[in-house]
């Protein structure tokens, strides 16, 4: 929590990946993820191929691998879930390190681990190379319904304002002798949340009136969409990653 939280994952840098238009990167990321999810889990080599692809993009984007791995710890609860699967799974069983485990469960655990990790890494790479503002513009250019992109844009724009208000309210509470510990803090926390809602809602009304007085008619102006859209060359460059991934997935599907 803190200032600039919404840009927390963005790595300000200038790499070929940073320079690609956002809509191209979003499409490539989603296509890559779908190819990974569609891969049969028995094709172990295919996931090695995907990992190489992720490593190449990481290097080209000049994102530090250590940062990427640390951030991917977000996946931890599902890793724990994956470790339980071999013991819970039904059907044929096998011996592993003296323990009886389900074959299906082992494959399932691998499936969750590999696909989950690759998905998280792909989203993190997108977030590291695209500002949130560009992300919204990209979604808009991909013909995402404008109402949804508008809601998302307002959300990201005012998130930091609200988080700042939360911090100020907490400081105010502490400096008036509140002792936030364990259950005793629930009351103060809940009242703070209530106050935050009132402030957010009333701010929304003020923002709407301000927009109305500047000629808002329910649609955002064209300028909002930023500079020109992606060229076919940029689409071609970015499509190499999902194209390779799709090739790997297709081969894996044929072979298994």
């Amino acid at each position: 929590m803190g200032a600039g939280h919404t840009q927390l994952l963005y790595h300000c840098s200038d790499s070929p990946v940073h320079r690609l238009p956002p809509e191209v990167k979003i499409a490539a990321m989603v296509a890559f993820t779908l190819a990974v999810v569609a891969t049969p889990r028995e094709a172990l080599w295919a996931f090695g191929g995907y990992a190489v692809l992720v490593a190449v993009v990481t290097a080209v984007a000049r994102v530090r691998p250590g940062w990427l791995l640390r951030r991917s710890l977000i996946e931890l609860p599902f890793v724990l879930f994956a470790f339980a699967l071999p013991f819970l799974g039904a059907g044929e069983r096998t011996e592993l390190l003296g323990l009886s485990v389900s074959v299906d469960g082992l494959y399932g655990a691998w499936n969750v681990l590999a696909k989950g990790t690759l998905g998280v890494l792909a989203s993190l790479l997108l977030a590291a190379t695209t500002t949130t503002r560009d992300l919204i513009i990209g979604l808009d250019r991909l013909r995402c319904p404008q109402l949804l992109t508008q809601i998302a844009a307002f959300m990201l724009r005012y998130l930091e304002v609200l988080v700042g208000e939360v911090r100020r309210m907490r400081v105010a509470r502490l400096s008036r002798g509140d002792d936030p510990r364990f259950v005793w803090q629930l009351r103060g926390f809940a009242i703070g949340v209530g106050a935050l809602f009132l402030r957010a809602y009333e701010r929304g009304e003020r923002v709407y009136l301000a927009m109305l007085s500047r000629g808002y008619t329910g649609r955002m102006p064209q300028v909002w969409q930023g500079a020109e859209a992606a060229t076919s060359g940029q689409w071609l460059v970015a499509s190499t990653v999902p194209a390779v991934a799709a090739g790997v997935a297709a081969t894996a599907l044929v072979l298994t």
């Binding site: 109402l147 809601i151 307002f154 959300m155 926390f189 809940a190 009242i191 209530g194």
Partner: protein, 238 residues
């Protein structure tokens, strides 16, 4: 401890089931947009945006439960249903989930339909149906409102978790055989505990808002087609 993913990640549920739920989620969101517009007309974008920012900000505030090591945060689905109604509430939760999947890697992009179905649709629908039913039965006092908020938040958390169990039954990564009951039990148990905390905070939050601006609590407004709260239209422009 950093923010942990609590949404379904890629590979847990198979592709066809994820695709079916993506279609369900898309249809439900289209309905929410339509009903949300009836309620807020062209105020929908800024108002829903601020409410979504509110939910996102609330989820970012961690409070220590026992020590600083174990912390929890509010999910906010039932709270949104109480304060802004089921349609705008579900829409806001869905936008939050989408941004979390795209930007934070919390929840797989291919599993977005499943996560939206569980948290935005099942969670909000369960909460709102209970809110409507309980407010009709219970006395219209602060205590009645608090009980309504507590129960609906508790049930919505457990219902959303049960949505995951159902989806796992339909297309889980591993056939668990009889152990699916064990999985359901474990998930229901942990989410019951989470739901109690969620219920307490939701109840106290709604009471705070109801005390200062009761007109802003959607659930307390007159039923039927909700008269949109009058906002002075500037120069009649609209």
């Amino acid at each position: 401890m950093e923010h942990l993913a609590m949404h379904i990640s890629n590979g847990i549920i198979d592709g066809p089931v994820a695709a079916i739920f993506a279609v369900i989620a898309l249809a439900a969101m289209a309905l929410c947009v339509q009903r949300g517009r009836q309620h807020l007309d062209d105020r929908l974008a800024p108002m829903a945006g601020l409410v979504a920012a509110f939910i996102f900000a609330v989820q970012m505030i961690n409070f220590p439960i026992f020590t600083a090591g174990i912390s929890g945060h509010l999910l906010g689905g039932a709270l949104a249903a109480l304060l802004v109604g089921p349609w705008v509430g579900a829409l806001c939760v869905a936008v939050v989930l989408t941004v979390q999947a795209l930007v934070f890697g919390d929840g797989g992009v291919a599993m977005l339909g499943l996560n939206i179905t569980n948290l935005a649709i099942i969670g909000t629908a369960a909460a709102y149906l209970l809110i409507v039913a309980l407010l009709r039965v219970l006395p219209r006092t602060p205590a009645g409102l608090a009980v309504t908020a507590f129960v609906s938040a508790l049930v919505s958390v457990v219902a959303a978790a049960m949505g995951f169990v159902l989806q796992y039954q339909l297309g889980g990564a591993v056939d668990l055989g009889d152990n699916i009951a064990g999985l359901a039990g474990t998930i229901a148990g942990t989410h019951l505990l989470i739901g109690i905390g969620e219920g307490l905070i939701t109840a106290m939050t709604v009471l705070t808002v109801a005390k200062t601006r009761p007109d802003l609590v959607y659930a307390l407004r007159a039923r039927g087609p909700v008269a949109s709260t009058p906002i002075p239209a500037v120069g009649g422009a609209r």
